[in-house]
């Protein structure tokens, strides 16, 4: 469904991605692991059109999308949850969700169904629906960022370090949400530094090091033998 082929991305002259390739099949949860600074977030940003790669191809459902504007990608079915959440702080929870709901071809009825579903899965957001986004706690903002992306009814969600800075209780909630998305056949490309969580929820895992993918395996294989993880993520 999503194929990334040998992309190179630069920040100015800084060469961050040196030919990254990966793929995500429909309904899969794919983990992307690696230490700080190896280019995991940059990979997601490149897929989402926030940066343009200088080389390589990105194909989504048969269409090349490497230089497409982010808003078109959102409409094609790619959801994005960035590393620092970036919810609209001055908009209420409800308004944050509506930014994803107000699309062409979505009936009022469907919108209400989607909203109800979100409020059921994220009761804390239902409680705070008229509160400004900036007043929510870190964990709640993370929930909102994911819920907001879900309003797009995406086929794949790019999740960038959703558990960073969260307490264990919230991490457990994130795990549940990933499970929920998986059950709804939404594919996930998960960038994480939390290795156990990633091993648990992913079907396949890519490991990056300094701008390239160095290893690729089924999560099951890595669960039984994690020496590779130690090699690329340890010290």
């Amino acid at each position: 469904m999503l194929t990334v082929e040998a992309i190179h991305t630069y920040y100015g002259k800084s060469h961050i991605l040196h030919g990254v390739s990966l793929e995500v099949r429909p309904g899969e949860v794919v983990g992307l692991l690696g230490r700080n600074g190896v280019g995991k977030s940059t990979t997601l940003k490149t897929i989402m059109g926030l940066i343009h790669p200088t080389e390589g191809r990105i194909v989504f459902e048969g269409q090349p999308i490497a230089r497409t504007a982010p808003h078109r990608l959102a409409r094609l079915g790619i959801g994005y949850v960035p590393e620092d959440r970036r919810i609209f702080r001055l908009l209420t929870v409800m308004e944050n969700l509506r930014t994803g709901l107000d699309r062409r071809g979505v009936t009022e009825e469907r919108r209400n169904i989607l909203l109800d579903k979100v409020y059921q899965s994220f009761p804390v957001l239902a409680e705070r629906r008229y509160q400004a986004g900036g007043t929510l706690s870190g964990g709640e903002q993370q929930m909102l960022a994911i819920a907001r992306a879900m309003m797009l009814e995406p086929k794949i969600i790019l999740l960038d370090e959703p558990t960073e800075g969260l307490m264990p209780k919230m991490v457990a909630q994130i795990r549940e949400i990933i499970g929920l998305l998986h059950r709804e056949s939404v594919a996930i490309l998960l960038v994480e530094q939390n290795v156990p969580l990633t091993l648990e929820v992913s079907d396949r895992i890519y490991i990056m090091e300094k701008g390239v993918v160095r290893h690729h395996a089924a999560a099951a294989a890595l669960r039984s033998d994690d020496s590779v993880i130690h090699q690329y993520l340890g010290v």
């Binding site: 002259k13 800084s14 230490r35 340890g234 010290v235």
Partner: protein, 234 residues
């Protein structure tokens, strides 16, 4: 070091003997940048002291720190893109030896130029002296950055992620460069690239949530269970 309610560095006690190459590592948000910024005078610490060569330098602004022979390279390069390599390094060298005379022609600073050339040689940019800094490759620009820091004749050189955005080849060159200049210097490096860290550092300090959780030679750090736990979150 407190930022409002956030304690970025919690009673960090750190000592670096002369001549050592020390790397600081740690997961995201561990406080590496904050530590660096405190030592190099970019951020005054909210508590505690920093002593360098027997002198208390706590809270001194960056230009005074530079006079105390501490130099730093930056992640976002600080070179002057419109000037040549030689000019960039010469200007840095001048900062240590300037006189207030308005009447000496700039070419009279022959001394300075020789010094600048020596530094350019040391960072492997010999032959590119008259090249505009903006035209250098990324790796060469970062080496120039190190050269500029070197030109201020520091005793302590602080390098902030020197190999970020570099190709494997450039990374190797940077490692060779650092080994070459390390002979008369004390070096403090913040890095994410473990190969670089393991290859260069004589000792490593590991920060996590603003505290030092381990310190020691590379082999020890690699075996330290606390460090592994922090990096792999197992």
């Amino acid at each position: 070091m407190r930022f409002g309610g956030l304690t970025a560095l919690n009673k960090v006690t750190f000592s670096l003997p002369a001549g050592e190459i020390r790397a600081i590592i740690g997961p995201n948000g561990a406080g590496k940048s904050t530590f660096f910024n405190c030592v190099t005078g970019v951020l005054p610490p909210t508590g505690g002291r920093i002593v360098f060569s027997g002198e208390d330098i706590t809270g001194l602004p960056p230009h005074r720190i530079s006079k105390k022979a501490i130099a730093r390279s930056y992640q976002i390069t600080n070179i002057l893109p419109g000037a040549t390599v030689l000019e960039n390094v010469r200007i840095a060298a001048q900062s240590r030896h300037h006189s207030w005379s308005l009447f000496r022609h700039h070419r009279a600073f022959g001394d300075l130029i020789d010094r600048a050339r020596a530094v350019i040689q040391a960072v492997g940019l010999a032959g590119k002296e008259d090249e505009l800094a903006a035209n250098l490759s990324h790796g060469e620009q970062r080496h120039l950055e190190i050269g500029i820091a070197l030109a201020t004749e520091p005793k302590l050189l602080c390098l902030d992620e020197p190999t970020a955005g570099m190709s494997p080849a450039e990374t190797q060159e940077t490692m060779t460069l650092v080994r070459r200049i390390a002979k008369d210097l004390t070096i403090l490096i913040v890095e994410h690239d473990m190969q670089v860290v393991m290859g260069l550092a004589q000792r490593i300090t590991v920060l996590h949530y603003g505290e030092i959780i381990a310190e020691g030679p590379p082999a020890e750090i690699q075996r330290n269970p606390k460090v592994l736990e922090v990096y792999l979150k197992t």
